[in-house]
């Protein structure tokens, strides 16, 4: 049923339909509306779960880890500094292979303090072993939670997921959302079946020492699971499409890319603006297309190589920067196209909530056509004098 919903509330209701049994979260802007809604839903007994008002994000994810180890489906949400505080636990969750799903309402990292959107927070968790899915709009942000649980809990994967969507741009914006009914959600996402859990009758220990004789193999197994997750993500996304009409089988999604000279690569809500800009550029005779990356981890290298094989140049828009190097997506796309002659140009944009308009996209396309790239786009030169 279509409803006009704030992004955060849509996510909270989707999470409710995923039936998590333990929710632990600490308030941080702009994540608060999600956890406030869930606190109320649990208090109203509309969801049979425990909601823990923990004293920090570190405790939030630690409580989630414990609950997952005990065999529960769990949920948390955070952003920015909160995710940074969880860093240590994040590696433990992935290393112990607990299929936790957490929403990241993307926000810039301090200092300077910023509550506005970019992707630096979740990108900083790139190597932790969490899957990372990026949503373009409220509908996708909502749907990706069902899919994330299904992929994470698949016994061939058993890795945690971050469902990432842009702070304010999605979290605080009202859009029509087609919300699954509880019956639909239940038919797609079966109850959680832990692969291993704390069980007094069959004791096991998690997180013990791995000597140098064993550690390498643990990381290798993590890596193999992440690679397997590509196919599982595709099949779970396809199944979602077959059941509810919205197909998420692609880890990337192309828009007017077939005959494009210039391909823009982007993630998250930015893709909506890029699509509008592309329509205008196409009207003006420029062959521009978009390749949206939905899954940053696992990274669909082969899909990207094949999708971009016919273009003359690629402009990658990154809402993050590895200081002294480039944006994360730019590096990965360049790696995917290694050996081809297609130039891949990186543009670091929109850090700390700087607005991106259609004319900015047009300007970036113009720069790409001239071969000008690997830059911060939109710098206020007067501030740098």
């Amino acid at each position: 049923m279509m409803e006009i919903m704030e992004g955060s509330h849509a996510v909270a209701h989707a999470v409710t339909r995923c039936r998590p049994q333990v929710i632990a979260a600490y308030p941080i802007t702009p994540q608060t509306h999600i956890v406030e809604a869930l606190a109320e839903i649990v208090a109203n007994c509309e969801l049979d779960a425990d909601y823990i008002t923990v004293e920090s994000e570190f405790s939030a994810l630690s409580a989630c880890l414990g609950a997952s180890a005990a065999g529960s489906r769990v949920y948390s949400a955070t952003t920015s500094q909160g995710l940074a505080l969880m860093f240590e636990v994040c590696y433990n969750v992935a290393g112990m292979r607990f299929p936790i799903v957490m929403s990241i309402v993307n926000r810039a990292m301090g200092a300077p303090l910023s509550i506005w959107n970019d992707h630096q927070d979740s990108i900083s968790l790139r190597d932790s072993g969490w899957m990372q899915f990026y949503a373009e709009d409220n509908q996708e942000a909502t749907d990706l939670h069902y899919i994330a649980y299904k992929v994470s809990e698949d016994h061939r994967v058993l890795l945690p997921s971050l469902v990432c969507f842009d702070g304010y741009i999605i979290s605080h914006t009202y859009e029509p959302v087609d919300m699954l009914t509880q019956e639909q959600a239940d038919s797609y996402l079966p109850p959680f079946k832990p692969y291993h859990r704390l069980d007094a009758d069959d004791p096991i220990s998690f997180g013990l020492f791995a000597s140098p004789d064993y550690y390498l193999e643990f990381r290798y197994e993590n890596d193999q699971a992440m690679r397997r997750a590509q196919d599982i993500m595709a099949s779970c996304g396809r199944e979602f499409g077959e059941m509810f009409g919205r197909d998420y089988s692609g880890l990337v999604e192309a828009y007017r890319l077939d005959d494009a000279d210039t391909a823009i690569v982007a993630m998250g809500s930015l893709c909506g603006t890029v699509k509008d800009a592309i329509d205008e550029l196409r009207d003006a005779g420029k062959k521009v297309g978009l390749l949206k990356i939905r899954s940053f981890r696992p990274f669909p290298t082969a899909e990207i190589r094949s999708a971009l094989s016919g273009v003359s140049r690629v402009a990658v828009l990154d809402k993050n920067i590895s200081l002294g190097s480039k944006g994360a997506a730019c590096l990965e796309v360049r790696d995917a196209l290694y050996g081809s002659q297609i130039p891949v140009l990186g543009y670091v944009i929109a850090l700390g909530g700087r607005d991106v308009r259609k004319k900015d996209i047009a300007a970036i396309v113009e720069k790409a056509e001239k071969g000008i790239g690997d830059i911060f786009y939109g710098l206020r030169e007067e501030l740098l004098k």
Binding site: P27, E36, Q81, L113
Partner: protein, 262 residues
């Protein structure tokens, strides 16, 4: 010089909601500083994250606006690297008692020569009114829609138990007493902890039958009593109502302290 000269005029007006008690606490702090005669270039204000912690940015001295809950470790570094500095920490209940609780007890244990001023509004004000570790049992917040089921921390008693040399609790109603307590704390070597109960009409009062700003200030006036008086009442077998908050000086002592000016 007056306390008003300590404000960064170009950063005003401040971001606090109408009726917020934080401004009163900042004024009391700066009056105490002014009275003691600290110099701007010898004083540093350190804060964490939250409404309380915006205070450091409004003051003309050097300041560190740090991460959530970590003002005390940052301040420890400042003070131990240069004990000649006067270091004041602004913090809130969420900052100090929740995410930074561990740092609080260890700063008190080490008894570092800091003045820690906690604006306890019993709620996470800046993020929109979620329950904090000082939200009273039964109080409404956005994460405890039918009332908090957890007991609240008594921060002053915690500071006494953990070893701070000076501990006092007042409220934003008790302006004169608060100013005197902050001054006494600043003069005491070792960690001084001054807790100020502070009204938050936007996120606490309006959810808890204290709709007007004055309702909450009146509440603090009528539901507080000197700690010593409450002790006497208990000793004589009188019943102390559960919602009465102990105020006054909790401890003034001379445990060995760290970072005291040589």
């Amino acid at each position: 010089m007056s306390y008003q000269d300590w404000f960064r005029q170009d950063r005003l007006p401040h971001i606090y909601c109408s009726g917020c008690g934080n401004g009163t606490v900042i004024n009391c702090t700066l009056m105490a500083v002014d009275e003691i005669g600290w110099k701007e270039n010898e004083t540093v204000f350190v804060s964490g994250i939250g409404c309380s912690s915006r205070a450091s940015g409004y003051i003309v001295t050097d300041s560190l606006h740090t991460t959530h809950g970590r003002a005390l470790p940052f301040a420890t570094g400042v003070k131990l690297s240069n004990p000649d500095l006067n270091v004041v920490v602004f913090t809130g209940d969420g900052d100090l008692a929740a995410i930074g609780g561990n740092h609080f007890i260890h700063a008190c244990r080490r008894n570092i020569d800091l003045t820690v001023i906690c604006m306890n509004n019993q709620i996470y004000g800046m993020t929109g009114g979620q329950g904090s570790p000082t939200t009273p049992a039964g109080a409404l917040s956005t994460t405890t829609p039918y009332g908090s089921s957890e007991p609240a921390f008594d921060l002053s008693e915690l500071a006494v138990a953990a070893g701070a040399n000076y501990v006092a609790r007042w409220t934003s109603y008790h302006v004169k007493e608060l100013t005197r307590a902050i001054g006494a704390g600043m003069r005491t070597p070792g960690l001084s902890f001054i807790e100020t109960m502070t009204q938050c009409p936007t996120n606490y009062g309006r959810r808890n039958k204290l709709r007007q700003v004055t309702d909450q200030v009146e509440f603090m006036k009528n539901h507080t009593a000197l700690r010593q008086k409450l002790d006497r009442m208990r000793e004589s077998g009188q019943k102390v109502p559960a919602d009465v908050i102990a105020i006054g000086e909790f401890v003034r002592r001379d445990r060995p302290a760290m970072g005291v000016r040589r």
